[in-house]
Symmetry: C2
Subunit: 399 residues, 2 copies
């Protein structure tokens, strides 16, 4: 690790993510009617958008009342009348194929450590028909209405929720905090339901939603990564995600601009039911693994480790070589230094759900995807080019 | 490297590949009318076959007179009336989307070192419209008629050609022997044209075909890998290739059976003309890189190294950590030990052409693809399972 990366890591280690507020994308990040946010790096043009994200965009436009039918909604995206932008360019992280539109409610997660880092994620939809699985139907739109019409507003006044303690406790009980968040979600839901008085439709929804911790945790990981962002010359990974076609990265020393991306394979692992063609890796939840949880923490999740088979052992061996610092609170190694990948290191794994490539069957399995090595090479080259150009460090707002 | 892998590597290092004969797939490997051979691991079912291989299969069936039109030919494949099988299951290696049918002429490459290893590859079609680019047209079929009607028979009597010396000399002049084979092809063509008397249509074809060395070299690399095959417990990679959907491996200790495969990304690198959607990695030429040439020898090819940019440096760093033995003749490191990947090593790169995903535009670029780490994990697990079952070593026929 070079000096610049060490400085970025030091800032990252001081971060303490807290879910402080809940509000709509329109209010919180100024998202307009004609922009939707998606996971991963940008699409080159609307023709490149994968079917699951196109479906999710259509469902979001129906939810927003921007279109009356699915084909009309898809046409708005294909024509460019509605623009898809990478969520992480707005500090937002969104799971799988889910898009974010202006009326959707977001978790606001801030660094209580004082760096000023802040990240956002949409509320988790629960199981069954869901936007994040890349399908469009009346049930998906109905779910969005419940989530953003009732659950979001109810959560607006619940007060701050510290996430690090829940994460620690859940890992001791077998969650790696990406593929498995059951314990963490139960702990979080318990807190939320208590604050909401324990009864009513919103509490019923939260008790049913088995992965409600996942989305605020994605925002938490993103906020922690952002605390280490903006250090010239630093190769710490601070953004990561797939868009169903390409996988993209941003490093601290890219100074918040651009993506390094490359074509990516589908996650490999167990099917749900019969085998169906899988979409290449998708989702901003890759930030969880980029910080050092998920596929890089499979040692903490024996059931998931067994389910993923031999590849889980490769992921664990990769984690041993890749993670670059000891986290003072989690007591685990964290942080990816892209130079380690570049210089003959293993590629980082990501624990992901697999979606149907054609966008018809939703979730079809899960497994491990792997960062394309070319991303790391391109990203480090971008950092070095900027570093030679002589950027100063971004201000450390704790100072 | 464990003892078993060391034994496999020792056998491999003693191999000396020689192009000894040329004959049709029907005669040499007993291929029947209803079977076509393709690159990489098997397809799960005909619905999984990627468009470029389906096109190549259609062109091959038109060439064989098995169908009168493209749709009729495609239907024979889709219905299962004609079966597609992995070429490497027959000792054949085939480039990109090219399929092998019974009337096609093959290079026969044998190990002059006495292991008994033997491998085959179809003749190189030259530039322009070609089966290997995954397109089907009258020009592609016409090319097959020239190649297998005139060039193949003319080469039948030319006598043995040693390949190792040509390879060595070409590497000294900037070929890495996969993405760049220009020097090697010129040297080979010079020999062939001299033996054929220097004039006529076949000599004219050979003088035009700038990559004629590539296919016999693929067979040479495969023969060398096969010399190290069949050692229980050995994790030496002895088969590698993509089918446009998945990338597959076989290790020495898998005893010639099965493939470990996983979804794979497209090669990342420069476009030819405008950017077009790229097919995931395809081709059995991955055996070249698996032996230690191509993407693992980019240090020898400064022009290609520069063209591939930062990712080439990642590939070179990976080669330093991955290759497991010194080759006595080439004076380079060779051989991939899958356990090194499994235990936190980098993933092996492959230098490949990129094909249009939909099979319409043929070759659209080139770049580096990377073995999916999951393949290595699954393959090593298969070796260990067989090893525990107590297989004896395959006989070393040199003994």
């Amino acid at each position: 690790m070079n000096d610049a990366t060490a400085r970025a890591v030091e800032r990252m280690l001081a971060a303490d993510p807290e879910w402080t507020e809940t509000g709509t994308a329109g209010e919180r990040i100024g998202l307009d009617r004609h922009t939707l946010l998606h996971a991963g790096p940008p699409f080159a043009d609307p023709a490149e958008i994968c079917p699951p994200i196109l479906n999710a965009a259509a469902a979001a436009l129906l939810f927003e009342g921007m279109a009356d039918g699915v084909e009309e909604a898809r046409a708005l995206v294909r024509s460019g009348a509605v623009t898809l932008r990478p969520a992480q360019d707005f500090g937002v992280v969104t799971p799988l194929a889910a898009v974010v539109s202006r009326s959707m409610w977001l978790h606001v997660v801030e660094d209580a450590g004082g760096s000023g880092a802040c990240a956002y994620s949409p509320l988790n939809e629960g199981g069954g028909p869901a936007l994040r699985f890349g399908i469009v139907s009346g049930a998906v739109v109905e779910r969005l209405r419940l989530l953003h019409g009732a659950v979001g507003p109810a959560l607006a006044g619940i007060g701050p929720v510290a996430l690090t303690g829940i994460a620690r406790e859940a890992m001791e009980q077998g969650d790696e905090l990406h593929g498995r968040v059951g314990v963490a979600s139960a702990l979080l839901t318990e807190t939320l339901v208590a604050r909401l008085g324990g009864t009513g439709a919103v509490c019923a929804f939260l008790k049913e939603a088995g992965q409600f911790f996942l989305n605020p945790w994605m925002a938490a990981c993103k906020a922690v990564l952002l605390a280490g962002d903006g250090v010239p010359g630093a190769a710490l990974v601070t953004a990561a995600g797939g868009n169903g076609v390409r996988f993209g990265l941003r490093l601290s020393g890219m100074m918040g601009e651009g993506w390094a991306s490359a074509p990516v394979a589908a996650p490999q692992g167990p099917d749900i039911g019969v085998s169906r063609p899988r979409l290449p890796a998708i989702g901003d939840s890759a930030v969880i693994d980029a910080l050092g949880f998920g596929a890089l923490a499979l040692d903490a999740a024996p059931l998931l480790r067994a389910e993923l088979g031999a590849a889980a052992e490769t992921a664990i061996a990769a984690a041993d070589r890749l993670l670059c610092a000891d986290h003072p609170v989690h007591g685990r190694r964290v942080g990816l230094d892209a130079r380690a990948v570049l210089l003959g290191g293993p590629v980082p794994p990501v624990c992901l759900a697999a979606l149907h490539a054609a966008g018809e069957d939703g979730i079809v399995g899960r497994g491990l995807a792997w960062h394309p090595p070319s991303c790391h090479a391109e990203a480090v080259a971008a950092v070095d080019a900027r570093s030679r150009a002589g950027f100063p460090d971004a201000p450390d707002r704790r100072a």
